[in-house]
Amino acid sequence: MAIQEHAAAVLTAGVDAPDVRLVGVRKAYGDVVAVDGVDLEIASGEFFTLLGPSGSGKTTTLRLIAGFERPDEGRIELAGRDVTGRPPYLRNVNTVFQDYALFPHMTVAENVGYGLRVRGVARRDRRMRVDEILKVVQLPGLGDRKPIQLSGGQRQRVALARALVNHPQVLLLDEPLGALDLKLRQEMQIELKRIQRAVREVGITFVYVTHDQEEALTMSDRLAVFNDGRIEQIGTPAAVYERPENAFVAGFVGASNVIRRSGRTFTVRPEKIRMTNDGGTRRDDENGATGRIRDVVYAGMFTRYVVDLDDGGELVVVRQNLETSSTEALDARGRRVLLEWRPEHAIETKPKREEKHESS
């Protein structure tokens, strides 16, 4: 299965066991199977993302690693040690919660120092480490504030500092940027990568949960695409984006541009399609198709065209508004067009997931 292929690609020089290993992990709530047999290996220092729609099992997987849930079946290892039966406080992992879960009755410094205090770190040492980590997350001097006095972005950083100050082996992040507005989210993505690089020397592995495919692609070293409690594909962002293994991955990571040619299924990325006005003669071969523009979505930087193909189905085409004005773009509605792409950009995908699991 995919793990074996990619394990070689991951640079884990000098480390025998992966930092996180899940073997056949299954978790059900009553009749609902949240995680349905997940195998996963994450190397030390990696930025690994669990990507998927809501209800796909990615958050449950994270909570299983943290120890908030116990698996029905399977094994969870941290640095080669079986921790399946251990409570959260006996696992060397820390979590950044989606709602930050900052203790409202404690100051920022008390929140950040909580883990150290619990572990009996002396007061002076504690203060030093708290100050130090608050500098890393760029919140120096805010130690005396209460969480309620902070902005969303600042709370986010405090939550991060509270987890990082303990030097966990693995840092678990549960959609940490989900509550922030777009601009702040983009800033925090860059910030988070900076912090990750800063603490990589200490060997902290980042496991990141998100439903935002762009976030997953920009931030991860590798990512796993979840669907219905299973992993559809594991790989580097480029591999997952450019060579999706099946229709689900193709559709979730990017637009679902699926075409069928002689019984096989291909997917073409919207930005890889060249659209011209030459839609006169009907065409439907391996690297081209004719159709009519049904819908135009003007998005400022680019325009998204939905094209109904002559042989049925549709393709989404994205074009930069290089020399196009919004009126010109919107006027294209109803026009006949020819779509063409390079043969290597039509990626063959397996339509059904079952095939993949039979091979594993």
Partner: protein, 299 residues
């Protein structure tokens, strides 16, 4: 229905539009009844209580003499009996409050965080059920339980133990008060515990804290406002009671309320009023301390 700019035909629509334009009128209509009741009934009674505490009774005619004097308070201050009664009242109120807090917390925790919705509903009914019956009936029930030949001693003797000897004692009052006011502690503590997000407890564990540590450092501080709210009920309700001491307590277990009750019957309303200000002052001090401890800080 109403088109933009169309004339408002029905009177009800005109009225609602008029109210919409005058928010102060809406507010006055909303608050008129409660403000009136509060000012006349509640504050009126309280003020007349304080005022009459500074009056006196004519020894011969038993009529109230409207002359300002501190004699009532001087009597209270100088007579040791009143000090003892005040001490007993406060002491038992405090003991009842602590007992109820200790009993209510685990129950409320279970109801708020562990019980299934069905079990939670059942426990709510169990907690509230006693409030459906008369207070007086429940006190008499306890009298029967604690009496010398009552249910408690009958059970104890049955298993070969001596009598509990609780009938008509301060301990009997403590037990009965703890029982009757328990729901008033369970409900606010439940509300406080229910509001704590699960993620706080998970975060505490995640940061290395075992259960006892999480309880001490996260749950208790966040539940404190609920415990204080409950304690205000249990403390003040005990402080002002006179039925339980009269029915369950023995000779020499009078509360402030009993003295007030007796004095009103004599009738010496001014002295009763003077003594009745003591619980008010005690509650005031209690609330100040609670505030100082940060119990009312909304987090």
């Amino acid at each position: 229905m109403v088109e933009g700019g169309a004339p408002l035909r029905s009177a009800r629509l005109r009225l609602s539009a008029a109210l919409w334009r005058r928010p102060w009128l809406k507010l006055s209509l909303l608050l008129a009844a409660p403000v009136l009741a509060f000012a006349v009934v509640y504050l009126g009674a309280l003020i007349s209580l304080f005022v009459s505490a500074f009056w006196q009774i004519d020894a011969f005619t038993a009529a109230v003499v409207h002359k300002w004097t501190l004699d009532n308070f001087k009597t209270l201050w100088n007579d040791h009996t009143y000090w003892r009664i005040t001490g007993r009242t406060i002491g038992i109120a405090a003991a009842v409050t602590v007992t109820d807090a200790v009993l209510a917390f685990p129950l409320a925790y279970f109801m708020a965080r562990l019980a299934t919705p069905r079990l939670r509903a059942l426990l709510f009914i169990a907690v509230l059920l006693p409030l459906w019956s008369s207070y007086l009936v429940r006190i008499y029930a306890w009298r029967t339980i604690l009496a010398k030949d009552g249910a408690l001693n009958w059970v104890l003797n049955g298993v070969g133990l001596p009598d509990a000897g609780l009938a008509y004692t301060n301990r009997a009052m403590w037990i009965v008060f703890s029982y009757v006011w328990l729901p008033f502690m369970v409900l606010p503590v439940y509300a406080a515990l229910e509001r704590i997000p699960e993620s706080y407890l998970e975060a505490s564990q995640d940061l290395g804290a075992k259960g006892s540590r999480t309880l001490r450092s996260v749950i208790l501080p966040l539940a404190l406002p609920g415990i204080v709210a409950g304690s205000i009920f249990t403390f003040s309700l005990t402080l002002g009671d006179f039925i339980t001491p009269a029915l369950v307590g023995g000779a020499g277990s009078s509360f402030i309320g009993n003295v007030v009750h007796d004095k009103v019957g004599q009738p010496d309303v001014p002295f009763a009023a003077a003594f009745a200000t003591v619980p008010v002052v005690v509650m005031g001090i209690y609330l100040l301390i609670a505030r100082r401890l940060g119990a009312f800080e909304a987090v």
